[in-house]
Amino acid sequence: MANIINLLKRQLRAYFYSPLAYVIMLAFLPTAGLSFCRSLEQHLGRQIGVGELLFGASGFWVAVLAAVALLTMPLFAEERRSGTLEMLLTMPVTDLQVVLGKYAGAFGFFLLLTLPTLSFFVLLQVLAPGLAALEPAPILGGYLILWLIGGCLIGAGMLISALTRSPITAAGVSFLVIGLFFFLDSASALVPGEAARNALAYLASAQHIQDFAQGIVDTRPVALYLSLALFFVFATVKVLEARQWK
């Protein structure tokens, strides 16, 4: 555990020592803010849950996608490129600890990145009381699904980063792959067969987000995203171990 915490701290420092963290924050927070304002504008005078103002905005999710692709990009690709991976993996730590440390570092950064968006709701309450009912359940539900999906996408991005030597390639591929997540429900219309359509629709994030942002917390998506994140961590460990199988 101590090793994982050490690696987590190093990863967080690595983000903040490089311009990357600031670039991501500078791009993410205004985009999130603008999408929040836009959905506020669109829904003015109409009945809408407060959670959906932020978490129902597609612009916000595009920003999440881009942020995750960028923040997972250096995790292993950079270490592989610079040769520090060799230094890391010849220390008395297990591959699993390295992967978990990196994952926790990236997830920690994601939390730091998304927490300031809480201020949007506070500002809304202060500046325009009564415009939207500030209920805690939809907001908490919204953050829960944001972090669940974020955790799962970070896992996917980390796996892709472990497969390549070039951080830019990792970012590009991650953006594409995790972008597909969000098109699953549109894609489900194209798939023949009732069962397959239902399965895809069940996996599609859009429906989960809508439910959670209305304060309806279902354990099935929770289990889905947690197990996907776990799978990605496991797969990354296997990718690192693969150096010994060749």
């Binding site: 490089s18 610079s82 520090t84 230094m87």
Partner: protein, 293 residues
């Protein structure tokens, strides 16, 4: 009566590393081909060979970064792939080009590494001071690694490999990219360490192997082709010197004249087809030095 402490067999054995028939393939490429050798405790052993001879692959195997395709590697009788964490605690590894995190400060980096290598908290400060002084990075402890010269980076990476007080040190081209002064200083440092540790290093420079090692394995094409002390190997390598000279003149006359030069053992035309050009002269190393002035 004082209780006798049981001594394990491993502690009695003078063998630090035992490599048994180790092969390593990368797909169709055989990087190492049935390599076997032993390294005694306290020895400094060098692997000498051209690029692509398999030196780095061998060191990566010893450092547990890669696993062998065939064969096994024992450190003090313990298979390093069955007990890789234990092995990593006992060895310090300096990969080629000393990869470091450029954004960190020297102090911060060493302390990060010391923590991960399990140096206990109460001993950490003293140990960090020790290695910083030993490796000469004390003066730059507050600097950012990205701004350090190659020499300091190399020293820092060495300090890192020593921080957990390993018994075995694995160095891949420790002096590559350094200027002659830095090289001399680093060699001095490595020789100084040898009193306490076993050192295995790879190099492509004969001079480096000569300057540091007690025993040298020469590698080529993934195999160990020779093993001896550096002095004896140098003798074999430099037993004679061949000179190729282009001399215009009648063949027999030229050969006769050349043979009469002091120190020349043998003269033969390099290209028999060409009547008047290219002769190979063979002379003992020291003799030819004299004739060359």
């Amino acid at each position: 009566m004082a209780r006798l402490r049981p001594i394990g067999l491993a502690q009695l054995s003078p063998i630090m590393i035992k490599v048994e028939q180790v092969s390593k393939c990368f797909g169709p490429i055989k990087a190492l081909d049935a390599v076997s050798f032993e390294v005694l405790k306290g020895e400094i052993v060098g692997f000498l060979g051209p690029n692509g001879a398999g030196k780095t692959t061998l060191l990566r195997l010893l450092a547990t970064y890669l696993a062998p395709t065939k064969g096994r590697i024992l450190i003090e009788g313990q298979d390093i792939f069955l007990h890789s964490l234990e092995a990593r605690r006992r060895l310090g590894y300096l990969p080629e080009n000393a990869p470091l995190y450029p954004e960190m400060r020297v102090d911060e980096y060493l302390s990060f590494r010391a923590k991960l290598k399990g140096v206990p908290r109460r001993r950490r400060r003293d140990r960090l001071e020790e290695v910083k002084v030993l490796c000469g990075v004390k003066d730059v402890e507050r600097r950012i690694i990205g701004g350090l010269s190659k020499g300091f980076c190399q020293r820092l990476a060495l300090a890192d490999s020593l921080v957990h007080n390993p018994e075995l040190l694995i160095l891949d081209e420790p002096c590559s990219g350094l200027d002659p002064n830095q090289t001399r200083a680093l060699r001095e440092l490595i020789r100084g360490l040898a009193r306490r540790l076993t050192i295995v290093l790879a190099t492509h420079l004969v001079a480096e192997a000569q300057a540091i090692c007690q025993r040298v394995f020469i590698m080529n094409g993934g195999r160990i082709v020779a093993a001896d002390s550096p002095a004896r190997l140098t003798e074999q390598l430099h037993g004679h010197v061949e000179l190729v000279a282009e001399i215009a003149g009648p063949r027999d006359e030229v050969i006769k004249r050349l043979q009469s030069v002091e120190g020349v053992r043998r003269v033969r035309p390099a290209a028999p087809a060409l009547e008047d050009a290219y002769f190979r002269l063979t002379a003992p190393a020291d003799e030819s030095d004299r004739t060359n002035g």
